[in-house]
């Protein structure tokens, strides 16, 4: 009995010792692991905070880029900037280049400000010595780090209710409509649509030049307005020859011409609209296609084209055609939510070719690798008149996750092949803000035609 009792006590002691040893080991292990756990927790929390901070910083830059609409008028040497942010923006640096010479001007914070509303900044006031009419690249850097690169503008850009327009004539400017006298003319060609009733005609859409109708110097017309108004001192003439302008007009006319004409349109039904004699303009809105210069390198790419449409964007290219040389152009246009060096990451890719000799084009649109029907427009070079343009219609809301007011990036790579050799030219990534005209078009439509 005594022996059994001794053995039991001995086992109890051993068990207790084991338990204590185990506890000590567990505490030691915990003491070692605790700093790792704490560091891991700190890592997770701080990483999250840093990510938030980085996103906030990027959003600030993105908002400035979106809220500053700008264009450059080389003939006047004026940069027009419309600041829709509601607060002043400080510009600290201006870069300008004519393709050969360049100038950089630094401004101490507070000296050069872009106030809310429309601002006109003169090149001479910036202290730039370059010939204003020859400036090809302009960049304004804000104190947040946003870079504004104004495209050329032929007219002062007006931003009304958030829409970037070059011209606008509404009911407020001409109550009851503007009477256009005999001898006037309005012409439009492209992917346009028409609605009419007994009193009014409503036309809107993207314009494409056609050699069927020509303007001054026999240039192929996309749009013409030769308007004589009741006041003999007022006469307005506009002729446009580019692919990608957007137009809306509401008129009343006793007769007009509207017929199908697919010249310059690929995989789309285009129309020609023409009105002569007397008519009344009730509403008129016009947006010029933006042209981003790439001619400095003497490559085949002259401009990258971009404009908004009803619920889509138009992106394209203009080539540097050489006189008298028959060429085949190939190209790729990349549209991406982010600026990337890895073109495999780009969601929307357009591959195309333009056969100038046979006046044919072909376009294939890839969205995340899948082929989607492409609608495209083109203008074939005419000697001494116009150079070749190609543009594609991208319903970005439908294709990719780009919504109104979102900025995205465009890049074009083109190659010109002649006599068996090809020359490649590539643009920089260009930022463009999607501001569809849908709301404007729908509101004007409802005003005259109801829902």
């Amino acid at each position: 009995m005594y022996v059994i009792e001794m053995v039991r006590k001995s086992k109890l002691k051993a068990g207790l010792a084991g338990l204590v040893a185990g506890l000590i080991a567990a505490i030691a292990l915990l003491a070692i692991l605790l700093p790792i756990i704490m560091q891991y927790q700190q890592h997770v929390v701080k990483s999250y905070q840093l990510e938030e901070y980085a996103i906030a910083l990027q959003n600030q830059i993105k908002n400035e880029e979106k809220g500053l609409t700008s264009c450059y008028n080389p003939s006047a040497g004026i940069i027009n900037v419309n600041n829709t942010l509601g607060v002043s923006v400080v510009v600290v640096l201006v870069y300008a280049s004519d393709g050969i010479n360049e100038e950089v001007k630094y401004f101490q914070p507070g000296i050069l400000k872009i106030e809310p509303g429309i601002n006109e900044i003169s090149i001479s006031n910036l202290g730039l010595r370059l010939d204003a009419s020859r400036i090809k690249i302009l960049k304004l850097v804000t104190s947040r780090g946003a870079i504004i690169q104004p495209p050329y503008c032929s007219e002062v850009v007006i931003v009304i209710k958030g829409f970037s327009l070059n011209m606008l004539l509404g009911g407020e400017q001409a109550p009851g409509g503007l009477l256009i006298r005999k001898g006037s003319e309005m012409f439009a060609h492209g992917l346009i649509s028409k609605t009419d009733n007994s009193a009014l005609i409503f036309i809107n859409g993207t314009l494409v030049p056609t050699p069927e109708s020509t303007g001054t110097g026999y240039m192929p017309l996309a749009f013409k307005a030769d308007l004589k108004i009741s006041d003999p001192n007022i006469k307005l003439t506009i002729e446009r020859y580019d692919v990608g302008d957007y137009m809306l007009v509401v008129i009343s006319a006793s007769s007009y011409d509207y017929r199908q004409s697919n010249i310059g349109c690929y995989n789309a039904y285009c129309y020609t609209f023409e009105v002569k004699r007397e008519f009344t303009i009730h509403e008129f809105a016009y947006s010029f296609v933006s042209k981003y210069d790439d001619s400095g390198d003497n490559g085949p790419l002259r401009y990258v084209l971009a404009n908004n449409g009803y619920n889509y964007v138009i992106v394209g290219v203009e080539f540097s055609d050489e006189e008298g040389v028959a060429e085949l152009y190939n190209g790729t246009i990349y549209v991406s939510g982010v600026k990337t060096d890895n073109i495999n990451e780009v969601g929307v890719v357009v591959r195309f070719f333009v056969d100038k000799v046979n006046e044919k084009v072909n376009a294939t649109l890839y969205v995340n690798g899948d082929v989607v029907d492409a609608t495209a427009f083109y203008r074939i070079k005419e000697e001494g008149k116009v150079s070749t343009q190609f543009a594609v219609l991208l319903p970005v809301e439908e294709l990719v996750n780009i919504g109104p007011e979102d900025s995205f990036w465009i890049k074009a790579v083109v190659s010109k092949c002649s006599s068996g050799t090809c020359l490649v030219d590539e643009s920089e990534w260009i930022s463009f803000t999607y501001k569809p005209f849908k709301l404007l078009v729908d509101s004007i439509y409802e005003k005259y035609f109801g829902e």
Binding site: I32, P35, Q42, V104, N298, D341, V424
Partner: protein, 209 residues
């Protein structure tokens, strides 16, 4: 018949206990060492992320001056603290004027950095040299697998915030480029942690000649 002398049970218990204690100590030291390494890597990662999130270097423009065979890059430090400008490379020029990380095809272009203060270009900035940090993962995006290949120190330039120097920086890379070609430029910033240099943030741009 061989007569084995039996080992004392006390001795065998002591040997067993000593072995277990030694093994326990080794395991604890390994865990302790591992945890120290994990903590250090995590701290470096956090410091690097913090710098990357806060710095705001702007590449205003990159251009090629064919008459002087120079690539020019205009930089502005829009952040609130100094940024260390590290290696720069033109992707399409793997062999030109390398400066560090030459083995295994890893190279960077030699360059000069100048401050332009109040529209006046100053002399070239004085380069600082830093030893490369040991944590390999931050070099993997440069495809550097063999750390022993890194023999040189990284050369960096300290770029002050724009409002402190009242100006911007101009980087000159002496290279000859072909015409009618597009070149991609990578600009790395460096962060100094515990006296060692780590690649921090990559900025990219491109130019067409």
């Amino acid at each position: 018949m061989i007569n084995y002398k039996s080992i004392s049970p006390v001795l065998s218990a002591i040997i067993l206990a000593a072995t277990m204690i030694a093994l326990g100590i080794v395991i604890l030291m390994w865990i302790s060492g591992y945890s120290t390494m994990v903590i250090k890597q995590s701290q470096i990662d956090l410091l690097r992320s913090e710098q990357a999130a806060k710095e705001n270097l702007v590449i205003v423009h990159a251009t090629y001056n064919s008459s002087e065979s120079n690539v020019l890059i205009y930089l502005l430090n829009m952040g609130y603290s100094e940024v260390f400008l590290g290696p720069i490379r033109i992707i399409e020029l793997p062999s030109a004027n390398y400066i560090i990380f030459t083995p295994e095809g890893i190279w960077f272009n030699d360059y000069r950095a100048k401050a332009v203060v109040n529209s006046t270009e100053e002399d070239s900035l004085t380069a600082l040299t830093m030893s490369v940090g040991e944590v390999s993962e931050y070099l993997e995006n440069l495809e550097i697998r063999n750390l022993s290949a890194i023999t040189d120190k990284i050369k960096v330039y300290a770029l002050e915030p724009y409002n402190e120097i009242n100006g911007y920086y101009r980087v000159e890379i002496p290279v000859k480029l072909n015409s009618n070609k597009t070149y991609r430029v990578e600009v790395w910033t460096i962060v100094n942690i515990y006296g060692k240099a780590y690649l921090c943030k990559l900025y990219t741009t491109q130019l067409t000649t």
